[in-house]
Structure formats: C-alpha cells, structure tokens
C-alpha cells in the first residue's frame, strides 16, 4: 500500500486537527496584528518623526531569527498557544504597519488639499479620501503578512502551540518523510489559499476609478 495513503487513512483526523490549529494560530495573530498595525499606521502617517522610530523598531523585530525569538519568550511566557501567538503577532506587524503608513502618505497631496479646501474635517478626510485611496496598499500588507505567518507558524510547534508544525517536527524526529509531507503540504496549501483570497480581496477593494483596466 502507498505509504502516503496509509498515513492518510491512519491519521487523517490528526492532520485535520493540526490544520485547524494552524489556521487559528496564524489568522488569529494576523488579525490581532492588523487590529494594532492599521490604526497605528494611520496615527503615524501624520507624525513623521515618531513614525521613523516605530518603523525601525518593527523592522528590528523582523530581523530576530524566529527560532531564537520563540526561545526568548520561553522564560517569560512559558509554552503553549499564547506565547506562540505573541511572537507571530509581533512578526505580523511590520508589513501591515509599513503598508498602512506608506499607503496613506502616498495619497496625492492635491486630493488632501482639495478635501481640506472643500471643508472636510480630519475624520472625513480619513474615511472619504485617505483610507479608500490607501486600502489596496493596506490589503497588500495584510496579504504579505498572512502568507509568511502561515509558514512561520510551523515553528510554533516547538513551544507546544500545536498546528502543522507538530507533524513536521514529529516526522523529523522519527525520520518519516511522509509525516513531514503531511505537515508541509497543508501548510503550503494554506499559504497559497490565503495569498490567493487576499489578492482577490485587494482587487475588490481598489476603487473602480483607480483600476487600470
């Protein structure tokens, strides 16, 4: 019997559970990340000096090797889903933050001037002009963030957060290539699916007047 088929029949339930854990671990972190990074990016867009500092901090976090990062949190937060989510959340911030910030900064100056000159207040300027114009860029940040958080979430298994990483690490321990694949393939498919869905959403939120076709 084909070893992959055998594995699937034997442990399809484990794979499904691991996939589900993986989904909520990564999407949960990205959702939290967006909840923080989008408002922060908006706030920073009118404060260039603070923005420079914050963006470089977020950039530095990004450079910490993920393996080490999980290690650092171990003494503080212990093991399990929570510390994994904290780390993934921190990683998810930068692309969303940077894209929100640049997206809004790059709204053409004449639109801001026209809006202000016609009597929009700050809130109206944000919701009627800046955000609709920046939305495609913000969505791109969300997409980039999701795709790589899904792949990095596999490492979270090391600190007991579960997910598809469990299968990969387990497979590596017992030299079972099929078990490794059973974790890798769903993780890759999840990343592709997220990339595709959010890519479509990105197009959908682009104002009609801004689409090239």
């Amino acid at each position: 019997m084909n070893p992959l088929l055998e594995l699937l029949t034997r442990s399809w339930a484990d794979i499904l559970v691991a996939t589900w854990q993986h989904v909520y671990l990564s999407l949960g972190s990205v959702a939290l990340g967006a909840l923080v990074a989008v408002p922060l990016g908006i706030w920073l867009s009118s404060r260039q000096n603070i923005a420079r500092v914050v963006l470089s901090i977020a950039g530095t976090i990004q450079t910490i090797p993920s393996l080490a990062f999980f290690g650092f949190t171990l003494p503080v937060l212990g093991i399990g889903v929570l510390p994994a989510m904290v780390v993934l959340f921190l990683y998810s911030l930068l692309p969303i933050l940077r894209n929100t910030y640049t997206g809004i900064r790059e709204v053409p100056g004449e639109l801001i001037e026209a809006g202000r000159g016609m009597g929009m207040n700050d809130r109206q300027l944000l919701f009627m002009v800046k955000l609709p114009m920046a939305l495609p860029v913000i969505m791109a940040g969300l997409r980039i963030s999701s795709v790589y958080i899904i792949s990095w979430a596999t490492i979270a298994a090391l600190i007991g957060a579960g997910g598809l990483g469990d299968l990969i690490w387990g497979g590596m321990n017992v030299y079972d290539i099929w078990l490794i694949l059973a974790g890798t393939i769903p993780a890759a498919l999840l990343a592709l699916l997220a990339g595709f869905t959010l890519g479509r959403l990105e197009k959908a939120v682009t104002p009609r007047g801004l689409r090239s076709t």
């Binding site: 004449e110 809006g115 929009m120 002009v129 007047g209």
Partner: protein, 373 residues
Amino acid sequence: MIKFEEVTKKYGNQEVVKNINMHVREGEFMVLIGPSGCGKTTTLKMINRLVEPTSGRILIRDQDIMDMNPVKLRREIGYVIQQIGLFPNMTIEQNVDLVPRLLKWDKERRAKRVRELLELVDMDPDLYAHRYPNELSGGQQQRIGVLRALAAEPSVILMDEPFGALDPITRENLQDELKNLQNKLHKTIVFVTHDMDEALKLADRIAIMKDGRIVQLDTPEMILRKPANEFVLEFIGKHRVAGGGPATVESVMKSNPVIIGPERGVEEALALMKHKGVNTLLVVEQDKRLVGVVTVEKLDKNRRRASTVKELVETDIPVVAAGSPAREAFNTLTANKLDYLPVVDEKKRLLGLVTKTSIVNALASFVWEEETA
C-alpha cells in the same frame, strides 16, 4: 465682501505677503497675477484659511474669518485648484455633490443639484454622472472641478490657476465658459493666474503682485492705459499698452478668434460655427501653429465624405506677420477683398485675426480716447 486689512504672512523670517490691503466687492471677478513666488497663491489660500495670516485681518461680510470655524468657513467657499484634485474613488456625481453631502443636504436635493450643474456646462447627466474622473479628458475634469466648487451655492469662489495645466484650446474654451457662468451667477471670485491674457479676458479688476506686495490694483482697461511702473509695463507686455495710435497689426487684431484642432470632427466644427456665429474657423495645432482655415460651405458640402476638419482645411491662405504695420494689413485686406487676415508670429503660431471690423474698432477707440483726453 472680502476685505484684507494689513495682512502679512511670514514663514520663519521670510515675508511672503507684505501688508496687503484689498477689498474684493460683492459679485466681482478679482484676478491676482504676478510672477511665481509673488505671494498670489498664499494670498488666495488665506481666504479659506488653508494658510493663516501672521498679522492683519481678513473679513468676509464684515466678519473676521479667524473668529469662524475653518471647516464651516471652507464649506461656504468654493475652491478650485490647478491639479483639479477630483477624488478618483468617487463618481462624477459623488465628486460634484461632495460639499452638499458634508452639509447634509437630503438625497433628492443633491441629485437635482448635480443634474442642474452638469446641464449648466452641457454635460449630459445620464451619460456622465456615474462615470469616474479617469474616464474624462483633462478639460472635462476641470469642468467638474468648477462644478464641484459651485455645488453648495457659495457666494465666494477661490480659483488657483485652474486652467494652467490645460492645453491652449481647452483653456480658452473653459475661460469662455467661466465667463458665461459668471455672467449668469455673479459670484465673488478670486482667481490666481500668471497668464496676462487670461487675466485681461476674465477680470473685473486685476491685482498685480510682486514680492508679496500689490503693485497695482485696477480694471484691465486702466492697467493697460496707465501701468503704475516699469514692472507692470514689462509684465503686461509692451505691445498691449495703448499709445501713439494703432501702429502694428497686434493692436488692431482680435486676440481670440474662433479656432479648432485639425483632428476634430466635421459635425463638431459645424456646431462650433453655429454656436459662435461665424462662417470660418481657423485650424490650429495644439501648439497654436496655424494650419489653415475651414469654411462653412466646404464643411457643409463634404459632411458625408469627410470625418475630420483636417481633410477639408485650406492651407494656402494669406497671413500677416506679427509686428507688421497695421496699415499694411489694412491694405492687403482691401486690395484682395478679404474678410479676414490671420496674424502669426515667426513660428507660424496664431496670435489673432485682423478683420475690417477689428481695425475700425481699434481706430474708433483710439480716436475717441484722443478726444476725451
């Protein structure tokens, strides 16, 4: 209506507007003009508080604008900018009714207003209301820009070089339209430009600015007759200034003849003739280079066979060079029994049109001015 009292604006140590006093009257078309960096745009933007004065007061209907809520103030003042600044994420309708929406007009009133405005500039509401700005030409976009400023029926409108980025033909069309609109609506308009022809064409009064000060503020007529100093004379161009009688063709020509581009359609040309009441159009390229003329007879006879003006243009026509004596143009006209004579510069760009009527008008104003002086 709008009063500047000793208004000064400083950026750091640099004074960009120096102690300006100016009174724009109700219903007046006031043009601010001057070289770049003269402070004209800053002066304009102080009226809707996009820039706030360092000292002095600006009053609208005797109320100090610094005592007013800036957001509320701006909703009561129309604003048109050079870069047009239509919101690309909104339809034409949403762009035009933006200020009414901010002012919370009800839906029906807004829809009615949008139709009314689009019809005002001959744009079919059913065709255009639901389009997006990027589906319109530059000229159409700025028409919408002007309508957007008119939407909430403000009594004051500020225009910052609104036609500066348009090609010459479109610019003239929009100037004509604005002038017609103003004749109907009588708004108080403050208009910034660096184009003297535009200023002379549109203004009730012109304020000429230099280095943050107003050098001369007067009607176009008086500025042409009595330039305040050498700078003004230089700025308005010496050839426009009256003195010594009509000497060159420029002083007797009509400076804005009816023109059309070579790529335009035959039907469009006929419609333009009907609209302007002329039987001949001058055909010019985008850069104003004269191609030739096209007549109503020829257009009418060939309206089935030809599609663009280019195919019917007569290129072999007499012209007169800029700077030639007016007398010479007059002689050519009478000797050849011509109705008109285009005036071109050394690069064959069209400057104007000499007709018998334009010569008579020039002579008449010269003679009668001498008598009353």
